[in-house]
Symmetry: C2
């Protein structure tokens, strides 16, 4: 069967979506589309219109997840669907591909299968999950957490933004407070196409990655307490400088992560945030708070890096006389993708002469949730220079087309009994 | 002559002043007295009342500096006065001694000389300078900058706080927008008693320090630019982490300052402020700004530390591939105190059996300005644990009395021709 993805049609969809919440950017093309915002409403409306034009049955669930189902009359309505999709929301001043590529590639795959006269044995659901990025109501993956039963509808709707506005009220306002729940457990399989957000595909010159696993994630919080004092009147030998101690900690975390890559090359450790008290040029820093991000596909390697971080703090207590605190409030296990889905991706690549490679995901995705209740797979398209969450995020249109072609082939394979 | 300082009278003055702008504090006793505030108005009113009770001629100048002159009728009005004083304003949540001790000790010295029947050959001016601490209108030393001609009255009055309120308007509102300018150049000599803000006197068990010099001060700004990227998706080997680079810089500045103490034990170097962009746990830091404070009594040693800081940045550019920027916008030369004033302090200590020692000042004071136009000296009283700019700032009342006794003796010596 000749599956010809219409790259131009896909490009137009993504560019139309890019106009919602678009921001001025020196370089590239950015957008700010927080869940439940006006920009999000317009992006949702446009998607629903496209779904309807494609003959999909559209459903909005209780937390605003949007689902468009293609079920030709020949398909038994009781057969489990295969689903695909991603999200339409963005981080503040994010890029135009992160999320929308996967949603519109899912739609384009359905259109391609329709155009080719393909007759699936299962329905195909194209999905846009609510607030994948987080940052307004949640720490992210909101819609998919409800779809897999991790969070109840009531819990999700009660979440509030900084202004005290609930998910419930925000969805009501934009007209996307629907009924029932998209049930990811009812799917036979799930595929999500997303930009890579790293440059391994670009470096390898390969158009599509088949994700092996999504790394586990730890967010840790460290606090180092010294003694604030006058920067002029406190001799060097009499200081308990919390920032100097924190600087050693930052470098220790970096070393620990670098050394861990010898055991598992996917390991990363980052001190991403650092806040100094009182943070005045003429005061010896009295306290520092640090946010540490640790990830790997192997949870025991994450444990090793976290252990090294706590050892660093213990050393600083001894050597620099500071007090320290450490917490590990957020600990997501690594999530392997299903072999069946990954095989379908590689086979679809081979059938369409598009090279694929195994690759891990260092970023979290809704697929982490979906993988808990059904076979899940992810496809990556190359990210120029690996940049994401930034207006300079870019994936060539031809690469979008190729990855969508692989997605289409994989969906065809998974929906053929 | 028997000069008996009334420690109880001095304590009452300082405690009365401590009630203006007092703040709740877990430990100690704090106050917030910003220049031109209501608390500042009440503190000024109380001082003026005390001056008048003591028979001083009170003058308010065009920038709100308060001067109370004691000139017995026997003293020729054309003879240059000897002046003493400090400031009544505080940092936010500062202590009760920093500033007020020097103002009220000056008043107490005059009362002591009057009580003893001392007949000076020069008038004695007791002075409270406007906004020594800064933080509302200026970076500090505001009133003294006008008194020595560094700033014009017009420039000073036009300075604005964050709400756009001028010095002029704030002084008018509290009734302290006077006329003319206190002319520090007309003084024969100047003495300022201040708390040490360090613990060298306490450690040595000595009641009064005679300041040899006030250190020079550099404030430098460093900027390190790396590449913000996804903390999960960016392998360790492909990062340009601005915070990891900044951490090396912080430790390099600390090492440079520690090593400089071998040449000049008064040298200090501090990275007091550090701001990360975007400062999110899950993003590799893209840029860091740092505020560096460097001080010493020897300017060439300050140069050495600053040079080492710039060498560190050059190394980080090579080794970590970051871009860096460095500025040194604030460069105050060290200011030696006058030998004549210092001799008067040591002599007054010896005459009253109060031990004195030479000591440098790592903090800036109005005396830095005054020293440009006349002979200036400073006396330090011990600071418990060296703490200042904090409600835990403390100087024992007996130490306040002793230091005031030395000040009184030194004023007697300087006003006797």
């Amino acid at each position: 069967m000749n599956l010809t993805v219409d790259g131009e049609r896909l490009r137009k969809d993504i560019e139309r979506n890019a106009a919602f919440g678009d921001v001025d950017a020196e370089t590239g093309r950015g957008r700010t589309v927080l869940a439940g915002s006006q920009a999000n409403e317009r992006a949702r409306d446009a998607l629903v219109t496209r779904f309807e034009e494609t003959g999909l049955d559209v459903r909005i669930d209780a937390v605003g997840n949007i689902l468009g189902r293609w079920r030709p009359s020949s398909v038994d309505p009781d057969v489990s669907p295969v689903a695909t999709g991603s999200h339409l929301d963005s981080v503040p001043e994010g890029g135009i591909f992160d999320g929308p590529l996967g949603v519109y590639a899912g739609l384009e795959a359905v259109r391609t299968l329709q155009d080719a006269g393909f007759e699936p044995d299962r329905p195909i659901d194209v999905v846009s999950f609510t607030e994948e990025e987080g940052g307004r109501f949640s720490s992210g993956l909101l819609g998919s957490s409800v779809a897999v039963g991790e969070r109840s509808v009531e819990q999700a709707r009660a979440l509030m933004d900084e202004q005290g506005r609930t998910v419930d009220a925000a969805l009501e306002e934009i007209g996307y407070r629907g009924d029932g729940v998209v049930d990811a457990g009812s799917w036979d399989a799930w595929l999500e196409l997303h930009i890579e957000q790293s440059d391994r595909l670009e470096d390898a010159g390969i158009s599509t990655g088949a994700v092996t696993a999504i790394t586990g994630i730890n967010h840790c919080e460290a606090r180092i307490i010294g003694e604030a004092n006058h920067a002029g009147a406190t001799p060097m030998g009499e200081r308990t400088d919390a920032l100097a101690a924190a600087s050693e900690f930052v470098l220790d975390v970096e070393s620990a992560a670098k050394e861990a890559t010898a055991e598992s090359e996917t390991a990363v450790g980052t001190v991403g945030s650092l806040d100094v008290q009182p943070n005045a040029t003429n005061v010896v820093p009295g306290a520092v708070e640090l946010g540490v991000d640790v990830r790997d596909v192997d949870h025991s390697v994450m444990d090793t890096i976290v252990e090294r971080a706590t050892q660093s703090l213990a050393r600083l207590e001894r050597e620099r006389n500071v007090e320290t605190e450490f917490e590990r409030p957020f600990d997501l296990e690594p999530v392997p993708m299903s072999d069946r889905c990954r095989d379908a991706i590689h086979a679809a690549g081979a059938n369409s002469a598009i090279e694929t490679m195994d690759i891990h995901s260092g970023a979290a995705h809704d697929s982490m949730h979906v993988a808990k209740v059904t076979d899940a797979g992810m496809l990556f398209a190359p990210s120029r220079y690996g940049i994401s969450h930034n207006p300079r995020e870019w994936t060539d249109w031809e690469e979008c087309r190729r990855a969508t072609r692989v997605l289409t082939g994989a969906l065809a394979k998974l929906t053929a009994q």
